[in-house]
Amino acid sequence: MTTTPSAQVIPSPRDPYARRKTTRGNYELYSWVFMRASGVLLIVLIFGHLFVNLMVGEGVHRIDFAFVGGKWTSPFWQVWDLLMLWLAMFHGTNGVRTIINDYASRDLTRGILKTLLYLAFVITVALGTLVIFTFEPCPANADPALLASICFE
């Protein structure tokens, strides 16, 4: 008879499983609420945008440099487009983050995909915000035929 305690030979049947760590907090709660709220807001913003750009007046045929330049001289459309950009980017990024969490099971895969996702988010939001606020509707030495009427007032 050996004197080895049997507890060392037979591992506890409950050993292999453990939730990796508790991740309690309101983050997922707020992001869940944000997805619903931003979704409703985006419906209004996007369909408003589509209606104004594609249906009012001559519709799609009047979209050119002058049209965009004219629109972005108005603070109203600046705020509208900024809201649309930010909400869409947060909403979409959060959605894709969820999909990555659901479909990628390895931590490394998740890490790489999410890094790429957040990188794309930062670039798009920074570039978009910059363009909305620094857009020059009347560049010097431009062909006057292409410019908005506000450039000649």
Binding site: P13, R14, P16, Y17, A18, R19, R20, T22, T23, R24, G25, N26, Y27, E28, L29, Y30, S31, W32, V33, N101, D102, Y103, S105
Partner: protein, 261 residues
């Protein structure tokens, strides 16, 4: 009842199908996913087909019994009560999680081979037996017991019928894991609490006699808690007790949101 029917059949020989009140019998093939690391197949999964004679009143469990008792004693599966209440024999039958003891063969098209697999997302131990420990670990985490404060009352804790009805649906859970192992989010990495744990938390959160609702909501307000539910309704479809599982999860979500705002 079954024993009497079988005796009648044995007396009448092979012509029982014509006898009045006889139960039709037919041949059914079961295609079973086998896994036994101690066999010559090692870690490989193999599919075995067995053909047995079954009656129109037989369940999948009866066919499994017949295979185990008459053809291959090494076939391994769990069952205890065999009457749909112990929750031991949840398995994936023709691609859907069901209790083998509650599924009649005639309801899963016995004309074609019936596939039987272990439930998904939990480690398979042997054949149809899975390690239920991850499932029960989540269940333990939500504290599935009455939490109260103050002195014990000297008589019952009185509750109105309306208060009892509030959580009636989720008291039906038999912990068979059919819901949790049908959930695609649970399949991913097994970190999600799973529908069954949330259902059993719901059973106490909405019980007027219980005072642990805040603690349970706190536990489930986790990255791996209720917020990982994508409302695919797989759990509701899989539940052999007919619990509105997805609805229960949404009610827990709502309780968290009203608590936070």
């Amino acid at each position: 009842m079954t024993a009497v029917a079988e005796n009648t059949r044995a007396d009448a020989g092979t012509q029982t199908d014509d006898a009045p009140g006889a139960v039709a019998s037919f041949e059914v093939t079961l295609k079973i996913r086998r896994y036994n690391p101690e066999s010559e197949h090692g870690e490989n999964v193999i599919w075995d087909e067995f053909t047995v004679q079954a009656h129109g009143t037989d369940r999948v469990l009866d066919a499994l019994h017949k295979i185990k008792w008459e053809q291959d004693g090494s076939l391994t599966f769990r069952r205890s009560c065999a009457h749909g209440i112990c929750g031991s024999d949840a398995m994936r039958i023709n691609g859907r999680n069901r209790l083998a003891c509650k599924t009649l063969l005639k309801d899963v098209n016995p004309d074609k081979p019936i596939t039987v697999e272990p439930i998904k997302g939990l480690p398979v131990v042997k054949d149809l037996v899975v390690d239920m420990e991850p499932f029960f670990a989540s269940y333990r985490e939500i504290m599935p017991f009455l939490i109260t404060s103050g002195n014990e009352p000297s008589r019952e804790r009185i509750q109105s019928q309306a208060d009892r009805d509030r959580f009636d649906d989720t008291t039906k859970c038999i912990l068979c894991a059919a819901c949790t192992s049908s959930c695609p989010v649970f399949w991913t990495d097994g970190q999600y609490f799973g529908p069954a744990a949330i259902v059993n938390a719901h059973r106490f959160i909405f019980d007027s006699r219980d005072e642990g609702a805040q603690q349970r909501l706190e536990i489930l307000n986790d990255k791996e808690g209720v917020w990982r539910c994508r409302t695919t309704f797989n759990c509701t479809e899989a539940c052999p007790r007919g619990i509105q599982v997805t609805k229960a999860i949404q009610e827990v979500k709502r309780a968290m949101i009203t608590r936070a705002f």
